[in-house]
């Protein structure tokens, strides 16, 4: 390859340059497709009503205001939505990760009868479309008297076949010798998991945790069904409430509310992009 750079370089530099020019144009177009809606949304959240209602469209706001956030808060109990979302996402994520770690540990390291069969059984659960199980889960939650409770919001989603599968694959790639050494030292299962597996599998666990967090935070249809009082709604469902509660006539307030729903996960995504994209796009199975 490096043997004849002089012969190759002139053609090479003229080839890519042409594609570069078209490429840059295409890249800018692609960026705009995603950037324009996001810009209009964020700027509208800070625009005054006069700016929002004026035509032609004011791309650059005349002045910035926080009134929209105040309006969103008076139209809907956003602080309550926030508390609910934080509780559900935090507890849901922790439970999901703990359960996935212990299930994956059992499948990866413990011998027990029918293990293969059970693992296939669990993978089959990946294939069951969540929408099909909604109604029965609702009836179950209802019979347990858990409608409008945090337990009802969290419990049905706690078993994650996806997380278990991802961790299982990772656990199996860990060096077996370390675990044997741990066992020889007399470490029990809990000790083995806490002081050996978890530190070694940290990236995979972070990935599973972040994806669980995103799923819990963005969850829509289950919180919509499992709660019926405004004060138990999570943020995404609260947004629907805001819209129905006159939000459609008040774009500023609606966009301010939307920003509030989106911002936490946008920050999480920007900070931990590497883990999230690897988990979502790199693995072959998803839910």
């Amino acid at each position: 390859m490096t043997a004849m750079p002089t012969a190759v370089s002139p053609r090479k530099s003229s080839g890519p340059r042409r594609t570069l020019w078209w490429g840059v144009l295409a890249l800018v177009a692609a960026a705009l497709i995603f950037l324009v809606p996001i810009y209009l949304f964020v700027s509208t959240a800070f625009k005054t009503d006069a700016d929002i209602n004026s035509w032609p469209l004011r791309l650059i706001p005349g002045s910035l205001t926080l009134d929209n956030f105040v309006n969103a808060w008076t139209l809907a109990p956003f602080d309550q939505f926030l508390i609910n979302s934080v509780v559900v996402a935090a507890i849901g994520t922790v439970l999901k990760v703990l359960l996935a770690i212990s299930t994956a540990y059992a499948f990866a390291f413990l011998p027990f009868p029918g293990k293969r069969w059970l693992f296939v059984f669990m993978l089959g659960a990946l294939m069951v479309p969540g929408h099909v199980t909604l109604l029965v889960n609702y009836i179950t939650i209802g019979q347990l008297g858990l409608v409008n409770t945090y337990a009802g919001l969290i419990l049905p989603g706690v078993a994650s076949a996806f997380g278990t599968f991802l961790l299982h694959q990772f656990f199996r790639s860990l060096p077996q010798e370390v675990l044997e050494a741990a066992q020889l030292d007399g470490a029990g299962h809990l000790r083995t998991v806490v002081s050996f597996i978890v530190p070694m599998a940290r990236p995979a666990i972070i990935t599973v945790g972040l994806i669980a967090l995103i799923d819990e935070w963005n969850g829509f249809v289950w919180p919509l069904i499992a709660t019926n009082s405004v004060n138990m709604r999570t943020l995404p469902v609260g947004l629907l409430y805001l819209k129905e509660n006159d939000g459609i006539n008040d774009w500023g307030a609606l966009m301010a509310g939307t920003l509030f729903v989106v911002l936490p996960m946008a920050i999480v995504f920007l900070l931990a992009q590497r883990y999230i994209v690897a988990g979502l796009a790199g693995s072959v199975v998803r839910r």
């Binding site: 995603f34 099909v132 109604l135 966009m255 979502l280």
Partner: protein, 268 residues
């Protein structure tokens, strides 16, 4: 494990009639299924769902692959655009839908600006029954496009450089390289994406709930909205679970068919 029991319970419920309130569900045999197919309303829901799924999956795969090929050129700034394109996938669907309600607003939205540039006025996207479904389809594609592109990009990056080099030496142009080398080598990725995107398109819900609520006049009632609406707005538990069974069987059939197909075609 929380997934199997509900399916069995759901099969039972689909043979009963119940309204959540009466003490017990009455067995009615196949009545719910017969009711679903006794008028055109439900077959229309299925047809609409089919249009939704096919358009969303095909368009996002084609555009996503194009975007991935663009990202693979490693032009300056690509990383930032990748992040931007992927972000809607991890943000709340309800929030994305709200943002697009503003874009589609015929009086204050970007849509008005675009249509006026072409000398016409913007359609009332979400309240006009001939536009509403397309509005939702556009939003769904926009939300999933970056994910598809990144998955394809991962696939492209796994193609060994020597293979492309060999094709180039054999005198293959860019299009031939794509058609004969890149696309066939990406077939496992395409297979994975078709399945996952089909399953998620079938279950699309938050965008519909936020933007149209299945309306206007049922114009955006897909199977997933129908299942929700029958159970929770009309309290027809039996009808809703019968529709759920249809969704389950369709999705299982698609998965099995694709695995069959893939055994013959994807190996290279």
């Amino acid at each position: 494990m929380f997934s199997y029991w509900p399916i069995i319970e759901n099969i039972y419920l689909s043979f009963t009639t119940w309204d959540f309130i009466s003490p017990q569900a009455d067995l009615v045999g196949l009545l719910n299924y017969r009711a679903l197919f006794s008028s055109w309303a439900f077959p229309e829901v299925l047809l609409r769902t089919l249009v939704w799924v096919v358009v969303v999956v095909v368009v996002s795969l084609v555009l996503g692959l194009a975007l991935a090929l663009l990202f693979a050129q490693r032009i300056r700034g690509t990383t930032a655009v990748q992040t931007l394109a992927f972000s809607p996938h991890v943000l709340s669907g309800a929030a994305i839908a709200t943002i697009w309600l503003l874009i589609f607003d015929p009086h204050h939205g970007l849509s008005r600006m675009v249509f006026e540039a072409f000398g016409t006025s913007s359609p009332a996207w979400t309240t006009d029954d001939s536009w509403a479904l397309w509005a939702l389809i556009i939003v769904s594609i926009w939300k999933g496009l970056g994910f598809v592109a990144i998955v394809y990009l991962v696939g492209i990056q796994q193609i060994p450089a020597e293979v492309l080099e060999a094709a180039r030496i054999d005198g293959a142009g860019r299009w031939t390289q794509f058609r004969r080398v890149i696309f066939p080598l990406l077939s496992p990725t395409t297979f994975f994406l078709v399945i996952t995107q089909t399953i998620s398109a079938f279950q699309a819900f938050d965008v519909i709930a936020m933007m149209t609520g299945g309306g206007p006049a049922g114009a955006t009632t897909t199977l997933s909205w129908f299942i929700y609406d029958e159970a929770f707005s009309r309290t027809n538990v039996g009808v809703s679970s019968a529709a759920s069974m249809i969704m389950f069987v369709v999705l299982m059939a698609i998965t099995v068919l694709q695995f069959r197909f893939v055994e013959r075609r994807v190996h290279y």
